[in-house]
Structures are given as C-alpha cells and as structure tokens.
Symmetry: C2
Amino acid sequence: KSFDIAVIPGDGIGKEVMPEGLRVIDAVAERFSLDLAYRHIDWASCDYYDETGSMMPPDWRPQIGECDALYFGAVGWPARVPDHVSLWGSLLKFRRDFDQYINLRPVRLFEGVPCPLANRKPGDIDFFVVRENTEGEYTALGGRMFEGTERELVIQESVFTRTGTDRVLRYAFELAQSRPRKHLTVATKSNGIAVSMPYWDERADLMAQQYPGITVDRQHIDILTARFVLQPTRFDVVVASNLFGDILSDLGPACAGTIGLAPSANLNPDRLFPSLFEPVHGSAPDIYGKGIANPVAMIWSGALMLDFLGRDPTCPDGERYRRAHDAILSAIETVLAKGPRTPDLGGAARTEDLGKAIAELVKTI
Amino acid sequence: KSFDIAVIPGDGIGKEVMPEGLRVIDAVAERFSLDLAYRHIDWASCDYYDETGSMMPPDWRPQIGECDALYFGAVGWPARVPDHVSLWGSLLKFRRDFDQYINLRPVRLFEGVPCPLANRKPGDIDFFVVRENTEGEYTALGGRMFEGTERELVIQESVFTRTGTDRVLRYAFELAQSRPRKHLTVATKSNGIAVSMPYWDERADLMAQQYPGITVDRQHIDILTARFVLQPTRFDVVVASNLFGDILSDLGPACAGTIGLAPSANLNPDRLFPSLFEPVHGSAPDIYGKGIANPVAMIWSGALMLDFLGRDPTCPDGERYRRAHDAILSAIETVLAKGPRTPDLGGAARTEDLGKAIAELVKTI
Ligand SMILES: CC(C)[C@H](C(=O)O)[C@@H](O)C(=O)O
Ligand SMILES: CC(C)[C@H](C(=O)O)[C@@H](O)C(=O)O
C-alpha cells in the first residue's frame, strides 16, 4: 500500500528541521520498503502570508485533504503575523477541520539529555499525554460587553461535547490498557471550574467502569503539575482537556530535559481525514537561519507518523512500518546518548549533522 | 491599634496546624506588643456540615465580616462532602464575598529543603505569584444541553471584567516596582483561548505603558510551566488569571521542594472586607490525626497576615508588625535549615515540635 504525505515545513526552524525529518524517512523507507509519496506545500506559513495576505490558498482542502498524513514543521512568527491569524488560519484549523481529536505526546527521558530534575535517570520518565484536540477551552466563542467603559467585561466560552469527551477518554483508556502498568491519570479541576470539569469527571467515571483492569487516578491540574516535578515516575498515560493537555505536554518534556525533543501526533484515529505530525516546539525565530535547531522532535514525529500509517487496517505491511518506527527511535536514542549534539544539548553540531547521523543509523539497526 | 482575627481551622490538618500558627503569633505579639484579639470559629468545616447540613451558619457574615483578617486552616474532605459544597460554600465564597481579589503566593527555596530541581540553591528560587482571585475561569456559569443524549454538550463560561483584570495587574506591577529586579511575567494563552486571553494581554500592555521601569515578559502558560522547571531564576513577580495562578502557585512551590510549605494571602487591599490567610496545602485527610503535619505554611501565612495588617494606613505601629513578620520568617529559615523536621522533610518531629521551636526562636531574633 502506498501513502501520500503532505510535507508542510511552515515557518522558522520548521523549514530547517523538515529536510532532516525527510532524510530519515527516506532512509527507513528504503530500508523497510515503504511506499511513500510526498506532496510539498509551501503555504501554511508566514512567508506565504506576506505574499498573499492569507495563510492558505482557497483550494487548500483539495490540495491536502486526500493525503494520508500531514508532516508539519512549525507555524507562526508573532512579530510578523499575529498568532490568531497564523495559528487559527493553519495549525488549529487543520486540527479542527480534519477532526484530529487526539493529540498524542510521548514524554521520555533519554540517556545523554541533562534532566532538570535531581536524581532522575532514563526509564524514570516515560509516559504519554493524551490531549483532547478539537474543543474544550480553545474557542473563539464569547465576546465583550460595555466595551470601552469601566464596566467592560469579556465572556469566554469553553465547549465540551459528549462525543468529544468520550472519544478522547476512550483513546486514553485503550492506550493505558495496552501498556504494562495500565495506569491512567485523568486531569481535572472540578473544584474550581464548576460546569465543564464535573462533566469531564462524570464521563471519565462512567468509562472507568468499562475498564476494571485500569487504575484510574483523578488529579486536579494544580497538584498534577506539581507531581510532574515531584513524582514523575508515577505517570503512565495522562488524559486531559485541550488546555490542560497543552500545559502538561510542555511541562512533561521540560521535566524530561527540554521541550526541544518532544514530538506530537494529531490523530484522526478513524482515518476519515489526514492526521498531522509535528514537533511540539515552535518556529523559534530567535535561532532561525543559523542551522543549529535540533531536528530530533521533527524526526521523532516522523516515526510516530509511520507507526500510525502502518496501523491502517487496510495496510498489509503494517509490521514494516512499526519496525521503521522502532528503528528511528533507537537511532534517536543512540545519537542522544553518544552525539553528535546540537548547541541546545551542549554540542556544536548542526541540524544536518544530527539528521545525517540518525539516517545512517537507521540503515543498520 | 487593635485587630480582630477570626480563627478558622476548618478540616483535617487545618485543625492540627492552626494551634501552631497561633502559638507563633502569640509569641511575636508578646515580643512586639501587637494588640490582637481572636474570634474562634468552628464552622466552615465538614464537621460542622455533618452536624448541620451546611458549611456555615446563616449569620456567618455578621460573625466574621467585621474582623480585620481571617486566619484559615484548610477546608474540604471529598470523601465526606463534595468539593463543590465544601469549597464553594466556604473558602471560594469568602474570596468572592469579601472581594479578596489578590491571591498572593510567595515561592522560595529554603536551605535545608531538598529541591527536586538539580543544582538549585537557596536564593535561586524567590518570586511571587499574584493570582486573580474572584473571577476568570472559576465560575459556575454555563450549563448542559441535549442532556442524556449522544448530542449532549456543556458550555462553561469564564468572566473577565476590566475592573477585575486591571486591579490584579495593578497590584502586580506595583509589587514588581517595589522589588530590586522589577521584572514582571504575565501569564497568558491568547494563541488558544481566543476571547479572554487577548483581552488580558491588551490590559497588561496598556498598564505596562504606565510602568516604563518594569521589564514585562509575556508567556503562554504552557511554556511558562516548562520555564518554572528549566529556568526558575528568571522569575520575580508572575501575574496570572485565577486558573493559571492556581496552577503556577502549586507548581512553583513544588519546584522549590514541596507545596507543604507554601503560604497564601487572599487580599482585599482596599480593606473594605477582611483578608484571608491560609496555607496552600489542603486538609490532607491521609495524614490527619497523626500529629505530623508540617505547620510552616500555616505559620508563614500568619506572618503574611501580620505584615498586611501592619500596612493598614490607620495603624501607627506598622513597623512593629513588619518586624514581627520578619522575625517569623527568619525563625522559619532557621528551623528549616537546622530542624526539628517533620516527616515530610525526612525528620521525625511532630507538628507541635516545629511550632514550639519557631515560637521560641521569634522571642530572641
Ligand atoms: C501554538 C499553540 C496554539 C499550540 C497549542 O496551544 O495547542 C502549541 O502550544 C501546541 O501545544 O501545539
Ligand atoms: C481547593 C481549591 C478550590 C483551591 C483553588 O483552586 O483555588 C486551591 O487549589 C487553592 O489553590 O487555593
């Protein structure tokens, strides 16, 4: 089976790490005989916005909507285009229009990566954040009243649907079920946010009854962030709303050393639309153009993409995709442990040095 | 000038740490000739709820509304009374009804407290979280639609008023102004939460124009939590909405060792209503009754209370209150560095051992 992949570098270091992501995918594709076709996209970027006044062309959907996956760099450059234009006009639009309702973000401490937490070693931090990705706190619903006066006020609405809540919980319960520890942390804040969060708890409690083998630990977001720092070994799968998942999936990788390495998968598990794979880091205008960005998050995101593609029930050679994923992961482990290292990890290597080293390794692993 | 203080131990370890808080306040009151009168309150507790079916008596407001301060232990015991009853019926009600619009939470790493962050020493972590405390994300506004069907959905509203936003920003700018580094971090999430957070940014930008001497650093909450872990030295004053402040004021103390030591001041700076001083930790049912709770957060909260009372413009002996605050703080420093230590910090001392040690020290400092 062949898969079409839309390649969308976006902005800033997205453009620098993307070639390394592709280099590694090309290498595993050759090694494991994967049949992948790329479609290169230069929109969904502030460059494109500068030229055209919009983030995407009118026919963006026909251009990429039939692809099997979107391999995405980073978007946004606040000094040039306001976030609400660049992000809501591309990344956040993809998440919603392609109903990528799962944002899956692995958190792992690797050998060779300095950990900001005292006395933690590789193996101690190894969990998944499963973030709801289409609704919840991220909305533009609401508005202002008494504008421009002392009485001015703003109402912001969050929306939690049963469909949206249940499907992310379901995914997280299934993921926990598939893991040895079978432990699920459910983030909440029902003691303060008095309408939506009690609903979230209620749905989680109901679903827990269907998974008697899973240990469910419900935590308020405040103390949960504290425990990421104090007891990171405790976590296995953590499921959270859009906002809480956003927070936890930056905090988790920070506890494991840096958000610079963290990948993410924005999934439509039903495969009605393409899923999107992107590093958690942004476009990093401050280091753009120097060729020193760490490409590991981009490369790891590519591995997640191959893994996801290979689980397509209509794909007869899924096993090869899974091996490609595993090969990339172990090449990443080796490079992080032994170098080369980019400046963010204390080395002097360049973006492409890491890409090449990982691409070489996957050929032999 | 004499001050009336309502003493409200509440639930669980609130009842165990309160006597130590009072012991220390009594000691400094004697030492610095402070004129304080207590009013002991046994409601605002789950015990009271068990007896009466409500958290507070109908005349709760006349009973404490004329006091100068509320010295508060901890409330809540989820296994006995649901949070939305215990918290919204007492603590959260006080914050709103007494318009305690500032929740001030110091974060500090002390000598003798093991830090979960690698290579951080006392002095590296020393900042304030200024949390909006009356509005924002904490509301019971909104509701359900299509209840009980597959189409079920929940809308949760957040409310940000100009008054509420400006006054917490003002307080934070003034606090930053009074500190040597004059650095203010403004938490936001305007790239995702598209109505309220851009408003928050807008008000912060406007106010920043009035404080040209302050360095203002605006950070999205996701990366901000990461930086608490990775770069804690960077912070001086952090201002945040109700929810974000809640998160940051648990995460900050965790980065400084434990949330068990963190105090908080729920302030009505205009003194139209009593302010409330409480530990950040809760009632901790799991350790209640053993006499091993660490009373430092309670005692430190008492110091914040004396400091606040002494700043009353009608108080001629404010200087003595400030000295009482400082004496308690340095006694806390000494005890944390040299012991005795409760089990949470690896010792075998009991709650009252710490209380007595600190009370002894303040007499001589
Ligand atoms: C850029 C921003 C809108 C985005 C988010 O908050 O979802 C990012 O932080 C992420 O986590 O992917
Ligand atoms: C108990 C809870 C409602 C409260 C809050 O979220 O404000 C607590 O976490 C706090 O920080 O004081």
